[in-house]
């Protein structure tokens, strides 16, 4: 079932291979399972590497290019490695009208990185996102899987602290 190439690399990446196989077993070896597999892979490893895409493609009988095409289409996926915690700040109208820019500046100052970047220690990534359906309490953001609403610049430290506290490996 695996190609010779994948058999060779798998010696050095046994943990990745095991994870992909476990996810394929959990979600099924069908094309329809591709997104759930990629979502879980990203959640567990913080990135979807080229090798991971090749492995998933191999197990689902798809071409690696097609898997890459899917990975690059979705804004929550993508090939770039992210930090352990991802902060996504909404930049759509209702949030912008309520002061998103000031919240963004506070995050950049607190973490010392611009939006689109990851802290050098690999802990935090700052990203812009479009409307997250919290427009009734703007400005809003997603911190990993959790939504925060009516965020003021003064509360930015609190959000970062909550994420640090939730980081198991911290």
């Amino acid at each position: 079932m695996s190609s010779p190439l994948l058999a060779t690399v798998s010696i050095e990446n046994a943990d990745l291979v095991a994870m992909v196989d476990a996810l394929v077993t959990r979600h099924g070896a069908t094309r329809g399972a591709l997104l759930p597999i990629l979502q879980d892979l990203l959640a567990e490893r913080g990135e979807i590497s080229t090798l991971a895409m090749q492995l998933v493609a191999d197990r689902l009988g798809a071409s690696p290019a097609e898997v890459q095409g899917v990975v690059t289409f979705y804004s929550f996926l993508g090939e770039a490695a992210r930090g352990r915690h991802v902060i996504r700040l909404c930049r759509t109208l209702s949030c912008m009208m309520a002061g998103t820019r000031d919240v963004a500046a506070a995050f950049e100052a607190e973490l010392g990185i611009p939006f689109g970047a990851t802290t050098p220690d690999g802990v935090f990534t700052l990203e812009w996102t479009n409307c997250i359906g919290m427009c009734c309490a703007p400005p809003a953001l997603l911190a990993d899987a959790e939504a925060f609403s009516s965020v003021s610049p003064a509360q930015v430290g609190e959000v970062i602290g909550a994420l640090r506290a939730s980081g198991v490996q911290e």
Binding site: L35, P36, S75, T92, S94, M97, N130, G133, C136
Partner: protein, 394 residues
């Protein structure tokens, strides 16, 4: 969760609608939904009964049909589906189950936007409870041979995946790029089987219609827009949140209820909607006058409408899949044009070109994203031509 008015949906007796549906033949259920004249609550307003009839009549060679709940809710300014999934998830699942009975489906999927991942656990628990209660699974409510179950699948941050054919592509493990019509999903949907795709709110109203009867629903609303509608109200208002109104409510009434009396204009329908100026606040929320999936964004007197247009066009440039030229090329050109207008560097000739481009995008784009992305900008030019043009150098 900010729900500002009592919700009719919170008063519906659990599973009374499903029981009423199972006492009838599937085609009778479709007739009742058709008689209620309910139109889809996701924005496009297609008649739900007709959609269900088409799916039930489409040949299903291997006997499979699907029910898909569109919980992608990506339209800027919309959050009422999040409220429903938090407060009355049972009703949504019950509506999907009634849909399955009506069209003869055995599987259902809720496509939940990745941004709402925190809702997943509650939804899974609700589904488990329904299975345990015999409301999902085999022989539902003791009806021999009626087998149906529902799973939840997450999106991954794409507004376009709310478009029903892009959603189906995404469920099948592909890029969320819209398909060609024809055929429609009712004929060839998920895994090529006949499929109904409906909005969260659409499914939530179905049990109420089955339990209380189509006449109850027909008694609410206007001649072409039946029933109550949930609105998501945000922006420059004292009391933002989810509101229930009958279709036909005026924009002024909505503003009074939500504390937005100072509004200079409102955006009805989100980023793909139109601008309604204060002089038109007597207009009603209805398919006849100001159609919307439920987003009302209120703009106070200090807001620059060109900033709004710029924000929306940045959104569309970001979310376009680039499959077709009018949308891929047109949105960045419109965005550049709006920025030029803001700088006072847009000539009347260029404004005319932008208008023609916008109309071409409406006509020639492949899917609803490109077809609707110019509408806010075009509505501004139509309404406030002089106000925009006074920044244009003479």
């Amino acid at each position: 969760m900010t729900i500002r008015t009592p919700l009719t949906l919170a008063t519906v007796t659990p599973d009374a609608g499903l029981r009423a549906a199972l006492e009838r033949a599937p085609h009778e259920v479709i007739e009742e939904v058709t008689r209620s004249d309910m139109r889809g609550r996701g924005g496009a307003g297609f008649r739900t009964g007709l959609k269900w009839r088409l799916a039930s009549e489409a040949p299903a060679p291997d006997g499979r049909r699907h029910v898909v709940c569109n919980a992608d809710e990506g339209e800027p300014g919309t959050f009422k589906d999040r409220a429903l999934l938090s407060v009355v998830p049972d009703l949504v699942f019950e509506g999907m189950t009634i849909g399955a009975w009506a069209i003869g489906a055995t599987s259902g999927v809720v496509y939940l936007r990745g941004e709402y991942v925190y809702l997943r656990k509650g939804l899974e628990e609700c589904l488990a409870d329904r299975r345990a209660a015999g409301l999902l699974g085999s022989d539902i409510m003791g009806t021999p041979g009626f087998d149906f179950d529902i799973r939840v699948q997450l999106g991954s941050g794409s507004y376009l995946c709310g478009e029903e054919t892009a959603l189906l592509e995404s469920l099948e493990g592909r890029r969320g790029e819209p398909r060609n019509r024809f055929p429609y999903p009712v004929v060839r949907g998920l895994d090529r089987a006949p499929t109904i795709v409906n909005n969260v709110e659409t499914f939530a109203w179905v049990p109420a219609i089955m339990a209380r009867g189509a006449d109850w629903f027909l008694g609410i609303g206007t001649s072409a827009s039946k029933g109550p509608k949930l609105l998501s109200i945000s922006g420059d208002v004292a009391r933002p949140g989810v509101y229930e109104f009958p279709f036909g409510v005026t924009i002024r009434e909505v503003l009074t209820a939500s504390g937005g009396e100072n509004a200079h204009a409102v955006v009805v329908g989100g980023a793909c909607g139109v601008c309604v100026p204060a002089s038109d606040f007597a207009r009603t929320i209805s398919y006849e006058e100001a159609s919307t999936g439920g987003a009302v964004i209120v703009l106070g007197p200090d807001r620059d409408l060109l900033d709004v247009a710029e924000n929306f066009l940045e959104f569309f440039v970001d979310e376009s899949c680039g499959q077709c030229t009018p949308c891929r090329v047109g949105n960045p050109v419109l965005l550049e044009g709006v920025r030029a207008l803001k700088r006072g560097e847009c000539t009347p000739e260029r404004l005319g070109e932008l208008q023609r481009l916008g109309r071409t995008m409406q006509d020639a784009s492949k899917c609803g994203l490109g077809q609707t992305s110019p509408s806010f900008f075009l509505s501004l030019v139509d309404l406030f031509g002089p106000e925009i043009l006074h920044r244009v150098p003479a």
